[in-house]
Symmetry: C2
Subunit: 581 residues, 2 copies
């Protein structure tokens, strides 16, 4: 044993004890006759003291040679500190060192191992093992572990069985791009890495496992947007003999448990909203409901007033920005420029200031009188002192733009408090969405999602109007989970593949095993998957997932620490029956 | 909700309650006026009764149409059973059904869904979802889940943090063959799937995580021997500031906890044995010590007796087979044929029967008198009624052959009781082993294993004699875990790569990141990994791992259920910058 205690546990009750500690030199101060060293490990920091009067000369000299991040072992006596530090768990004591062993030296780290580091993103990734020594990263990883333990124990107590599904599976053309693995033993053939264990969890339901879960790595070979990783972790769940309501209840239970156990927050029943309502009120299928600024549709009160822009718009929609009535012309112009950026794409924005005296001044006073504008404020819920912002145009695009504006303003106004948690179920998602690129319908969730039985007849006449038994759990404007009731009979599943443009042969080749399975007594079933990285980050009060992943990849999918991917030799390619193009 | 109760929970206390159940038709008996159906779900079986006198006609008729594995929902009343079945949890009651809904029909399954099935291995794998409905497979998966929960909670309470390490990593030439993944974004480059998270867990120690674990999928593209899988699961662990003894104590704690919690078995401290002792006594570095038959070396007592075979042998070794003194000549001849099979490879075997009257009859009576044979029996520990079997030749090969014979006899004699658990630590493994094929030393454990400090000087003079700080945990003749204290300084690691035949450039290209990391204050550290599939199978009292894996692959690495691997299209190959050879 290299230590009798760790660096976070000694306090006044240990005074006069002989102890052995080991850890890293966080920093040292050398006053000539006295050296203080902060010794750090995962558990905390303990102050060591070397004193010319009380420490052997060679130990003192060795202490004087210590640099930052040296790994040392010390023996000594716990003594009371003269200048106590109430902000440290070990702040009442220090160790008067009698023996010092340097276990390993350190060259100068490329950035400082402090909570606030001077290391840039690239450097921190290259030396991730040093970055992990920093509290923010270390604590995020420990936090992730704790959430994982809570998830597993909660689901286990509810009768869920964690079953490991295979990583080497079959490539399917549906969905995102697969990572593939050439097979050595099966020439010319490839495994794929799972984008999710979807079909396996359904087969487990056919197999009678009843309640399944897995915290599992999934893979998507997509161009990486910020804060996406090619490998990510899901809490994947499935239940048999359930309806949508059962699943919502079960996983609301899990989410409530986590909020309570991890954050100490008691939530009531989660609100629910249909997809249509979410789009109308927030322009977004994952609305952040920690704050208001709900959309007010102004079409009715803006028509026939000679304002051609609004008259010709499919949708005129406004929000009331709380307290922004005092914005200067310059500030408002900046907002108008902001919505006109290509990422947002509006061509302009109308505004109306609801003054403290009750009058309303707008950028379209020429067309709308106080009575009109009063209606705007009623519909948007504006109060004196607020600023009404109005966008117009194509309904879907305008909603999306307004949603972006709403989120931007909320961020600027500090309304997105990471310590406030507002969960929300969004239900009744459309089954299909039209894809412009391929000119066909795609499954909005995935091809295994069940249409609502009452909407089935619409599949032939108005596919876009068919609603699915699909639901998302939204937390603070992020989709943290999503799922659906699945199709469990072969006929409906075949029909669905047909609507999605699969030929019978394609459907059979790709998913024949699933449709075969449905013939042998498949129970009604459904499930849900949480994005574990995102869930943990949000619970941890962070915007980005990167610090909750021990060894993340950069936006080119590279691990810059180990320098992967990398070339492999020709012999290896030969064995795999492939060559480079 | 499709059910008010599951099929395993109703008993006499529920009599007269109205209940709703859902599940599979296990079987039905139709007596014309009465139909009994066994309804099955994950939790058990409940008997349903349909009675012409008490059941509506159309419900009765519907019940008559049910086939095996139909999925149904029933409503009815819990009533007392006339013929109680004390072997069933629900054996006191049955359900008098009032409503029956067929949720899904089933065609005839390709094999019977019973504990003892008529389905062969191939068929069971192709329809694995049906196989999982069978108790032996279902219970194995549930058992695996429970072991996983126990492992995680135990290690978590000991301060271990589960950290997910990446699956898309870098290919290394050392060790087994890697599975690789072509990168789309990094042309001509490949990720590899990890054979173990070895370097990452060491980097986590450099990063100060102190105690790490992970239950994690690992991958090896090797020709599959029976009961090996290309993807397998490890309980991977690492600790900092520890010596071998600390690791042994910690994971003996875990193994004891599992034996106690899962099997109800209290074990004392696990015995320990050096590698040399294990090889001498059992011819095996993972000896099964549930039974005796320890090797007795007979060289000294067999020389100079004119028996040329023994005189010229490096090793003459015998075992006493308990109670086998009564074997007939035919039985013994069969054993001699057995050791001469190519898989074992002996050229012959000498035997000596220790008769009940104390006399000993051997196949080499011409050379050895009763006094000689008495010594054999003393050395092998033979008692009257035992059979002494003797092999000779090259020391290592002879030990291996004798080990195979010992295990075979133990199996035949029923000494390998799966409900007896005999754990054993094997320590002081050699650091290096000579590889005939490549004419160089390979790391016996892996290149990161620390030599014993006192043996370091031997590296130059007698590399084969250098012992490592490496240890295996053996259970019932299976290596269930293995690990080592690691090298934690750059100089020793460089030296090790040199001894293993790496050029400086190769070492830097493959493991430069690790050696770099060692410069920044790497703590002493070590760890261990358990083979989770094997561990679970042994705890479950089974010889093979396959039923403890939900969706195993066959010996060609194929998933015959989903038919993977499979061909992918040219567009996909193009994107990945590869083509078929």
């Amino acid at each position: 044993m290299y230590r009798s205690h760790n660096c976070g546990e000694l306090n006044a009750s240990h005074i006069n004890q002989e102890v052995t500690l080991a850890g890293w030199v966080q920093k040292s101060r050398n006053k000539g006759f006295m050296i203080w060293v902060d010794l750090r490990d995962r558990y905390g920091i303990t102050q060591l003291i070397f004193d010319t009067g009380r420490t052997q000369k060679e130990v003192f000299n060795s202490a004087a040679s210590l640099g930052r991040e040296f790994v040392i072992q010390v023996k000594g006596t716990v003594i009371e500190r003269e200048a106590k530090n109430p902000n440290m768990a070990t702040g009442d004591i220090e160790i008067l060192v009698s023996e010092l062993t340097i276990l390993n030296a350190s060259i100068l780290p490329p950035f400082s191992i402090e909570d606030e580091t001077d290391g840039g993103e690239e450097l921190r990734m290259k030396y991730r093992y040093l970055d992990i020594r920093r509290n923010p990263v270390k604590n995020s990883l420990i936090f992730r572990h704790k959430v994982g333990i809570e998830v597993r124990n909660y689901l286990s107590k509810q009768g869920f069985i964690e079953v490991e599904t295979p990583v080497l599976i079959k490539s399917t053309p549906e969905g995102a791009r697969d990572f593939v693995v050439p097979s050595r033993m099966n020439e010319g053939q490839f495994y794929a890495l799972p984008q999710s264990p979807q079909t396996f969890k359904q087969l487990l339901m056919v197999g009678g496992m009843d309640k399944y879960f897995q915290i599992v790595k999934c893979f998507r070979d997509e161009d990486l947007r910020a804060d996406r990783q090619p490998e990510f972790t899901q809490i994947d769940c499935e239940m048999a003999f359930v309806e949508q309501e059962d699943i919502i209840q079960t996983f609301e239970g899990l989410a409530s448990h986590l909020l309570k156990e991890i954050k100490g927050i008691e939530t009531g029943p989660f609100p629910r909203m249909t997809y249509d309502e979410a789009m109308k009120k927030y322009g977004n299928d994952k609305p952040d409901i920690r704050f208001g600024m709900e959309f007010g549709e102004l079409n009715e009160v803006t028509q026939h007033k000679d304002f051609a822009v609004f008259n010709s718009s499919e949708l005129v929609v406004g929000i009331a920005v709380p307290g922004a009535g005092a914005y200067t012309r310059k500030q408002i112009d900046e907002l108008i420029e902001w919505v006109k950026r290509p990422q947002v794409g509006a061509s302009g924005m109308v505004y109306a200031k609801y003054e403290a005296d009750g009058s309303i001044k707008s950028s379209v006073d020429k067309f709308y009188d106080q009575g009109d504008l009063q209606k705007w404020s009623e519909i948007t819920g504006a109060k004196p002192g607020d600023l009404i912002l109005v966008l117009s145009g194509d309904a879907h695009k305008t909603r999306t733009r307004m949603s972006a504006l709403r989120m931007e303003l909320a961020t600027r106004l500090g309304l997105r408090n990471p310590e406030v948690f507002a969960p929300l179920w969004v239900v009744d998602f459309p089954l299909l969405e039209w894809d412009e690129d391929t000119s066909r319908f795609h499954a909005m969730h995935h091809p295994f999602t069940s249409p609502k039985p009452e909407d089935m007849p619409l599949l032939e006449t108005n596919p876009a109007a068919v609603r699915a038994n699909a639901y998302d759990l939204v937390l603070n404007g992020n989709e943290i989970g999503g799922g659906s009731i699945r199709i469990h009979d072969k006929a409906t599943q075949s029909l669905m593949f047909k609507y999605l443009g699969f030929t019978e042969e394609q459907a059979k080749a790709q998913f024949g095993f699933l449709m075969d399975a449905f013939q042998f007594g498949a129970p009604p079933h459904g499930g849900l998957a949480f994005g574990f990285d995102r869930l943990v980050a949000i619970l941890g009060g962070q915007e980005t997932i990167r610090d909750f992943i021990a060894f993340p990849k950069n936006n080119s999918g590279r691990d810059v620490m180990i320098d992967a991917p990398s070339a492999i030799d020709n012999a290896q390619l030969d064995e795999l029956h492939i060559r480079l193009k």
